[in-house]
């Protein structure tokens, strides 16, 4: 209990520090001024979300291979947390887009693929509610999760393969791209903070799922007697 509270406090502190850094430490950007500061959360949340989906992908693979309930629980947990982060991206994006491009939304490859990613993981969670038998639900949703992961590299590649309204990559974007060093440090710090938050949320969600399945098993055993 203590350990959990402590971890929670540390994670909160990290996220707070990242917020502080992005507002007060990072230098002002020339064309977009204070608005650009949303970038540290926008991109970092996207990275954290995609990492969460990668965790989901690995958990799905492991479930199919080992058939142990815990991988199924990890699968749902990480899908839900990833979905939350992508939702943040889908909210911060338009907030930034309105002043930057003059519109909230446009259907370019990056934006659409991100939205499709969001829909895919909603479908993943929806599919789970549509199959009653626990084993089959776990197996079939794991398989669907494996298939839907294909959209993650596409979201990542969208701004690299197609010409988009969305800005081209500044990190890992090849020669000519890049960030000012302080910006870079702040950015990586907020990436770290949001990843910590993501891991913490997944762990908490996983505990909850585990409790739920334990209760289920107890209930079944009570019925069997």
């Amino acid at each position: 209990m203590w350990k959990r509270a402590m971890t929670g406090a540390i994670v909160l502190f990290l996220v707070g520090a990242a917020a502080y850094a992005s507002f007060f430490i990072a230098p002002e950007e020339k064309t977009m001024h204070v608005l650009q500061r949303i970038f540290y959360f926008h991109a970092a949340a996207a990275w954290a979300g995609m990492t969460a989906f990668s965790v989901c992908f690995v958990a799905n693979l492991l479930y199919v291979w080992r058939r142990s309930e815990k991988w199924d629980s990890l699968g749902v947990s990480s899908a839900e947390v990833g979905l939350a982060f992508i939702t943040v991206v889908l909210i911060t994006g338009p907030i930034w887009a309105k002043p930057a491009w003059g519109i909230y939304w446009t259907w370019d490859a990056r934006l659409t693929s991100t939205f499709v990613l969001w829909l895919l993981y909603i479908s993943y969670l929806l599919l789970r509610t549509l199959i009653e038998e626990p084993d089959r639900r776990a197996l079939l949703s794991a398989l669907f999760g494996i298939f839907s992961f294909i959209d993650v590299p596409i979201v990542f590649g969208a701004i690299r393969w197609w010409r988009t309204q969305h800005p081209a990559p500044v990190i890992m974007g090849g020669p000519g791209s890049g960030l000012e060093p302080t910006m870079r440090k702040v950015f990586f710090f907020s990436v770290l903070a949001l990843h910590a938050l993501m891991v913490f949320l997944i762990a908490e969600r996983y505990r909850l799922e585990k409790l739920r399945t334990d209760v289920e098993v107890l209930r079944r055993e009570a019925e069997a007697i």
């Binding site: 519109i103 909230y104 939304w105 446009t106 259907w107 370019d108 659409t112 939205f115 499709v116 829909l119 909603i122 479908s123 929806l126 509610t129 549509l130």
Partner: protein
């Protein structure tokens, strides 16, 4: 009297099977979203075009979704030959249609109302001032779609190739509804909203004609 009580009992059953799991609405809404995304993405309309196309797109997506949703309406009755059981138990077979019609209309109406806020935000249109008109259009259109969908579902359930058949029969038949409700919605979403009476009248007439046809010929649709 017995028509009403039968319809009531059957409506209870329809709602129970449809809403036993509350995911039905979610699924439909996600489906409609997907259709909207696909359309927008493929055509990549300019923001001006996209505003012009919005009401049409909404109705088109909605029509697709209904043509899928209404499909199992009678198909479900074939699985254990429950349609025969109903025909054996009910005194007026029209009750079977009425119940399905009511359940479908209710369901479609609910979906539309749930989609409305989302749509309002996405295309930035003010819906509150014209809400009552919108509800009227939604009702007239959903009712028309349900009548056609329910009757055609009875036909397509008996044919082979059931999967494609309902959309195939239903979509062309409902083009008038699609066009009329798109026009009315467009006028309501206009910068200076107005009520397009012609469209509303058209929808009403369409509904009455179809309902009469169903009432007259419905019974034959159920025959073996």
């Amino acid at each position: 009297m017995s028509l009403l009580s039968n319809t009531g009992a059957l409506l209870g059953k329809e709602l129970r099977t449809e809403f036993r799991s509350r995911e039905l609405l979610t699924t439909t809404i996600v489906f409609i979203l997907i259709v909207i995304v696909l359309f927008s993405f493929t055509f990549d309309p300019t923001s001006d075009e996209s505003r012009r196309f919005a009401p049409g797109l909404l109705w088109l997506a909605f029509l697709f979704a209904s043509s899928l949703m209404l499909q199992p309406c009678f198909l479900r009755e074939q699985h254990n030959d429950t349609l025969s059981a109903l025909r054996l138990s009910v005194s007026d077979p029209f009750a079977i249609f009425l119940a399905k019609l009511a359940a479908n209309t209710l369901f479609l109406l609910l979906t539309e109302l749930l989609l409305l806020p989302l749509f309002a935000v996405m295309y930035n249109v003010p819906v509150v001032p014209v809400l009552h008109w919108l509800v009227l259009v939604f009702f007239l259109a959903s009712f028309g779609i349900s009548i056609a969908g329910t009757s055609l579902s009875a036909i397509s359930a008996q044919a082979r190739m059931r999967e494609l058949l309902l959309p195939l029969l239903m979509l062309p038949l409902l083009t008038p509804i699609l066009v009329a409700s798109t026009e009315v919605t467009k006028s309501l979403f206009d910068r200076a909203p107005f009520v397009q009476w012609k469209g509303i009248g058209f929808l009403a007439v369409f509904d009455v004609v179809f309902l009469t046809a169903l009432w007259l010929f419905g019974e034959y649709l159920l025959e073996e």
